[in-house]
Every structure is written in structure tokens, then in C-alpha cells.
Amino acid sequence: MELFLEGILNLIGFIVGLIIGGFSYVGYKNTGSPVLFRLTIAFFAIGIGFGIIWSAYITNEIFFEEEKINRGIQALGLGIQTIGYFFIAFSHTIKSFFPKSRYFRSVGILPLFFLSVMNIEHIIRAFSFILLVYGAIETIVSYIEGKQKGTLAVGVGLALLAFGEFIAWYSLIFPETVLYSISIIIKISGLLSLFIPISKLPLKKIKFDDDLDQE
């Protein structure tokens, strides 16, 4: 059951990421907006991250008939997704996300040398959670200011992804329970909620000869 849901989650993440990333790229090409460029990187990264994990599951099942995938590949996919979440949060102008002091930087990097791939995966998930919470809060604040339904859908989507990540984290304390399956269902709902605004926009591409960014 978990494997089936995991497959659906990663496939939906892959498709939603690529569609929103592609739409943002068309917007960037047509308007030259740096915000759309950051959204392009964000959603392509999210889509590719989900895609890597999905293809690893599929390859394992077809060729090796194993249910579990390599932890390194899982960490790679999650890491690429986190880059995507970072760019969403970065677009909301994170000014001091990383510590500026050299001491804190070195101390921050040091534990990575003593960690196993399993621990790195949990750290990546924790980063994803923080970035998603930040993105969700900023988007919901924008909704309160603008009262646009699309903004609410994106805010709820990011919040559901964050909540799903939190439940998945919590399921480590209570393994072999339905918590992990619930977390996957919540994440799927989050991805579908992210897709709501784009599904209402007309998908048409127009081309301009020159770059508008030459003032």
C-alpha cells in the first residue's frame, strides 16, 4: 500500500513540477521577469527530484524486484526537491537564512562528515519542512492582503506539503503505523492544490523577437 502511494506521490510530483516549471519558463521567456526565472528553477527542481525517486522505484521493481530503493538515490531526489523549495522561499526574500559568522558556517558543515546517508536524508527532510513552512506562511500572508483564491490554493498546497513532511518525520517514532501512508496522501493533496491556479490559466505561448531586458 505504502509503495503504491509513494509511486503515485512521486509521479504526481514529477508531472506537476514539470508543468508548473514549463509554464514559468514560458512566462520568463515572454516577460523577462526574474521572479518567473526563480519559479522555473524551483519547479523544475521539484519535478526532477520527484522524478528521480519515482524512476528509482520503477527501475527497482521491474529489474530487481525489490521494494526499497537505494538510500543515496532517495537522498539525491529529496535534496533536489529541497533546492526547489529553497527557490520558492528565496523568492519571498529570505534575507538571513544561512548564518553569516564564519564560526557558525564551519560548525554547520562539520556534522555532515560524521553522518550516514540515512541521517542526511532526515536533515534534508527537515530543511524541506522549514522552507515549506516559510513559503506557506508568506503565501498565506499575501492571501490575507490580496484575497485571491489562487494564492490561497498555493498557500494551502505548501502548508499541506509541510504538514505531510512533518507527519512523515513523526512516523519514524511510530514505525509500521498508518502515519506514513497518511503523510503521503497529505502530500498528494498539497501537490494537487499547487496545481489548481495553473489549471485555470490559458496555456498559450507567444514569441517575441528581442529580449526586453535591454533598457
Partner: protein, 95 residues
């Protein structure tokens, strides 16, 4: 809190203003754009020459001064700008 417009937002405002005047009259004068878009003459002149060279605006000779009309490409761009402005605002961002 003071919020600054991005360059693309200023271009959007200029095109919207020019489109309104293109429908009503021959086009928008520089004075009209300065008032409507709330931008300095120096900055507006630079952006206008850029938009005319890109083919988004057409410069027409009126009685005493130049006027600016939105072109077909400009209308297409404005449509795209509005669409993606909505898209970015759905993410709580400014285009």
C-alpha cells in the same frame, strides 16, 4: 511600508496607460504617461525608446509633441504580462 515596483511592472503600467489612450485618442502623451505611471521624465524617456525599438509601442507625430500608441505586439505582450502577473501573485509574489 514602501513597496517599489519592478521594471516589468512599470512597463506593464506604461502599456496599460498607452492602451487606454490608444482606444480613446491618437495615443498617450509623455505628460499623460508621467502623471499616470508616476515616473520621472528621464526614466520614462529611456523606457519609451526601448519599448518603441522593441516594437511594443508606436511613436506617432501629433500637433506639437510625440504620442505613444500600443502596437499589436504590445497588446500581445500586455496579455502575457497580465496572465503571468496573475500567476506570480498566486504564489504571493510580484512579477
Amino acid at each position: 511600508m514602501v513597496t517599489y515596483r519592478t521594471k516589468i511592472e512599470i512597463i506593464g503600467d506604461i502599456l496599460v496607460s498607452a492602451q487606454e489612450k490608444t482606444m480613446e485618442q491618437d495615443g498617450a502623451s509623455i505628460m499623460h504617461l508621467i502623471r499616470n505611471v508616476n515616473i520621472s521624465h528621464t526614466r520614462l524617456s529611456k523606457i519609451l525608446s526601448n519599448l518603441v525599438s522593441q516594437g511594443l509601442l508606436e511613436q506617432v507625430n501629433s500637433d506639437r509633441a510625440y504620442k505613444y500608441r500600443i502596437s499589436v505586439v504590445g497588446k500581445d505582450f500586455l496579455g502575457e504580462y497580465k496572465k503571468f502577473n496573475k500567476f506570480t501573485s498566486d504564489f504571493g509574489l510580484t512579477i
